[in-house]
Symmetry: C2
Subunit: 568 residues, 2 copies
């Protein structure tokens, strides 16, 4: 049996190696157009930053052997053809026409089974100036090495990044944190990580970026990239404003490398551009499998086919393909889009849908619970606050998404791991409340942040108080509308400046509230305010029993505003 694998990174390399372990007698041929193969592409930002000193480290095994052609041949027993471009698949004759990029020589390789793992390419914005010297995408190790050398030579003083998604944010940190370069970050949408992170959490990231010296421009409308003597010198916006730059990095998404498959007549989705595969990762030709960034996969919350170019999924898919090739039955059912990201001192993670995307995808009656609390027991030294968001369906309680922003620990990973593990099984808010989550003071509180976030959602669903969104409250507060009254229940010292600033803003401390309830007018809309909204919730329940009908609790609490950089 002869199996050809096109593409020798995450999915392709995993497929080939796993298959060779399952079927040591089979001939497994791994083809790649590059010389460098099997590199940890997700590590590129850390190579550019200098955290990872040499690019070879990204291609090393954990026992420090470089994963090159010789390694895969000698240690793994594969046949490896590097600098070899797969040009055409002849499905009738079961051969792949390839071209040796060094010599230009062409040949045909026969296969019994074929695997397409051609990955994806960065999208290039179709704007004037895109081809100037100094305009980059992160398309692989070569570009990364080039950028790093340029920085190291001192040729980069003013980098500009287009796109504040995963790559854009990681590269912002790489340039800014470790090389000390002043980064300009342009984002088309009104928030960073659009469609990935709920707005309330995105604003925390935005404030953090600005605090770390990043010039962040949201709603950026780029007209063209400006050049001088063929080299990039800036980016011009539609409104005429110019941002200087001597390096421009486009991090504006990817498109699947599905041309080869398409040319061979395999089904490629016109919507996503990804190769269509079934759950066994078979293309429309049962002898041809495909996986990794070049395929589309099912989103397990929406049921729709999507692109989800993640190294973790590519590796899992590679294993599924190998198992199926070896005669087992294995499936990759789909994804909930779990992600985790380091951004300066923050860990950002999530899975499932944001409230915005859930609404867009047609979920009716989307509920949104925000929570913030200490990552560890609040008495444990060094405990920092983290921020949590739970998106759910109000009618059924079904969990649609979970997102978190916290300090750079594994705490965010812990919560995302727990939720992404059960999310495919369609849990409800009640199921989250019933999760068993280990506890000790150095790690969390007796009720984990997951529990408390789910409690917020449950209390909202049960109608135990009226919820006021963070953005909405700011508008009401600034409007000065006398119909409203704002009651800050924190220690009076914490709210002093607000009581001074706003006419209808008063302070009644939580601990004294029950004794001072008569100070409150029943004919006004009352907003209760505190750091996490826990005290406010408790008082809202008390007020409801005293006949107050229009009592609101801020969704998330004042700590959110503080993390947005507002004075609350």
């Amino acid at each position: 049996m002869r199996v050809l694998v096109i593409g020798a990174n995450a999915c392709g390399a995993k497929t080939a190696c796993r298959l060779k372990r399952l079927k040591p007698d089979w001939e497994v041929v791994l083809i790649d157009r590059d010389e460098e193969i099997s590199y940890g592409a997700c590590g590129i930002p850390y190579f550019i930053s200098g955290d990872v000193p040499e690019e070879t480290a990204l291609r090393e095994t954990s026992f420090h052997t470089v994963r090159d052609k010789a390694f895969f041949e000698n240690a793994k027993g594969l046949v490896v053809l590097t600098k070899t471009l797969a040009q055409e698949i002849d499905r009738k004759n079961k051969v792949v026409k390839v071209k040796k990029l060094d010599t230009g020589e062409e040949e045909t390789l026969s296969y019994d089974k074929l695997v397409i793992a051609t990955g994806a390419s960065p999208k290039v914005l179709p704007i004037p100036g895109k081809d100037l010297e100094g305009v980059y995408t992160i398309s692989g190790l070569k570009a990364a090495v080039e950028i790093k050398q340029k920085i190291a030579r001192g040729e980069v003083e003013k980098p500009l990044i287009i796109g504040a998604g995963f790559i854009g944010l990681e590269m912002t940190e790489a340039f800014s944190d470790l090389w000390g370069l002043p980064v300009t970050l342009l984002e088309y949408f009104p928030q960073v990580m659009p469609r990935i992170l709920p707005l309330e959490l995105a604003k925390i990231v935005e404030n953090h970026l600005r605090e770390r010296g990043v010039e962040l421009i949201l709603n950026a409308r780029i007209k063209e990239i400006l050049g001088k003597d063929g080299k990039v010198c800036g980016v011009k916006m539609e409104d005429g404003k110019v941002y200087e730059a001597d390096l421009v990095l486009m991090a504006t998404g990817i498109k699947p490398n599905s041309e080869l498959a398409k040319k061979a007549g395999l089904l490629v989705s016109p919507l996503t551009g990804g190769i269509v595969v079934n759950e066994r990762m078979q293309t429309s030709d049962p002898d041809i499998y495909a996986g990794g960034d070049c395929v589309e996969v099912r989103h397990l919350i929406t049921g729709k086919k999507v692109l989800m170019p993640m190294g973790s999924l590519a590796n899992r898919q590679g294993r599924v393909i190998a198992n199926n090739l070896a005669g087992e039955f294995d499936t990759f059912p789909g994804t909930v889009g779990a992600f985790i990201l380091k951004c300066f001192d923050l860990a950002i993670g999530g899975c499932g849908l944001t409230p915005e995307v859930a609404k867009f995808e047609g979920f009716s009656d989307v509920g949104h619970a925000l929570n913030n609390q200490s990552e560890r027991s609040h008495f444990y030294p060094g405990a920092e606050y983290a921020f949590y968001s739970l998106t759910y369906e109000k009618t059924t309680g079904r969990v649609l998404g979970f997102h978190a922003v916290g300090p750079f620990t594994d705490g965010t990973l812990a919560r995302v791991h727990a939720i992404s593990s059960i999310l495919p099984f369609k849990p409800t808010v009640k199921d989250l409340i019933q999760l068993e989550l280990a506890y000790a003071p150095p790690f969390n509180s007796a009720l984990d942040p997951i529990h408390d976030t789910a409690h917020v959602a449950e209390n909202q669903m049960e109608g135990r108080y009226k919820v006021l969104a963070l953005e909405e409250f700011l508008k009401i507060l600034e409007s000065g509308d006398a119909e409203w009254m704002f009651v800050d229940v924190r220690h009076p010292k914490e709210s002093e400046h607000l009581v001074k600033k706003y006419a209808n803003y008063i302070s009644i401390r939580y601990e004294e509230f029950r004794g001072r309830v008569n100070e409150l007018p029943k004919n006004k809309k009352i907003v209760l305010l505190c750091s996490t909204s826990r005290r406010s919730y408790e008082i809202a329940r008390f007020l409801s029993s005293k006949g107050f009908e229009h009592v609101f609790v801020l969704n998330g609490g004042l700590n959110y505003y503080r993390k947005w950089g507002l004075e609350f």
Copy 2:
């Protein structure tokens, strides 16, 4: 409606507060025999160590108000009776007879519904000397304050702890790490954390304790506690050996405070000593609920009733009780025993059963997969190794338990959170392989340690290689049995000392193995050795295709021995 809650810590305080939020009009009375209530008992070791400076910090809210009687009355609207001992429940008349401990005055309190949350007490070993001055248990805040003051006054130079379970280990660290005291730790069983942690992981903890200067005695058979002038001065063993000590702490488990319930005729389990409750946390009297350390709960893996005295479960149960009291329907289905623990520089966690306990509980054909790998991408700076254990049923693939020991990060928590979240749903090894787990290099590898641990289990189940247990290999190696041959596939420099030391120990580097296969005899039993057993597994597959029949792979890899303090 008048609800009486006996016991004002984790479960009792949670029940009372939640109920008052759900039913602000109800009268909720909280009774406790102590003056200090609602303290974070799990924080006691961190108070004693000095990490938490004042005991009041353990009783504070996150907004730094002490949770005392006045707080619960003014802020929460409860009626609180401290220093009040519940002596008898008269179920017929629905009253509780209480005694004011200050005055000796007795009175009866009526109830419509009653909640028993009386907690548990530390077990005291029935040995001579147990009543000497300087012999302690951690029974509450008072003992903790006393111990800390004693240390602070310089009266403790040689503490001795009996029992290496959760409390024993945490207190060992408290004494040793932060006060610099030389701790002697005695454990009856042949390992630390017996029945909690698999032996292979326990040995890592044991080595770490010894490296940190703890005198750890396993298989300890204590005869008596020795005293001089009424004060403790040492512990004498059955074999006559004496360990000097000026403070002895018994951390030998707990017993539920179920006497009050028993006296009232409520069902109390003769096996566990815990109060019997249904899933709604109702006792055998439907008007009386019970929760926290005084009840027994269902273990979701064995189906048996067990004691599981955990602050996290007590809080969750308190919420369930409050919901049921308020007229909702809520359940606490049981526990998988999830735990997490800091021990010096280690994070130790797990859920479900260890292999030893699984066999003891009657599971047939218990499989055990060991894995070790870098917690983060191996190229990410500062990445450390962590150690993982997966217990499963070979016939069905059902996951029975998961345990981990890693550096003191939240990485162990992340893995335990993921597994404990799905464990109640009876996942198989295959289900773990299919978990979606977020990935970025600063947090993990493209396949999370959970995946790779499950892969080991799957490869074992599928019979892809013969497994050799870590303990077994050591015996064979030392026996010098010429039937066996040991092949170390790491870099020759790593195995040099072993090749010198053992006659039948040779080195063939992984990268060269396929070309040197002829050097191996087919008539011997071959054990393949490397750091994580990944390379060994790959070569075992290769050898199987070359007609080698007796090839073994070490379960877990040589890194385990290194973490046990052996030279491998």
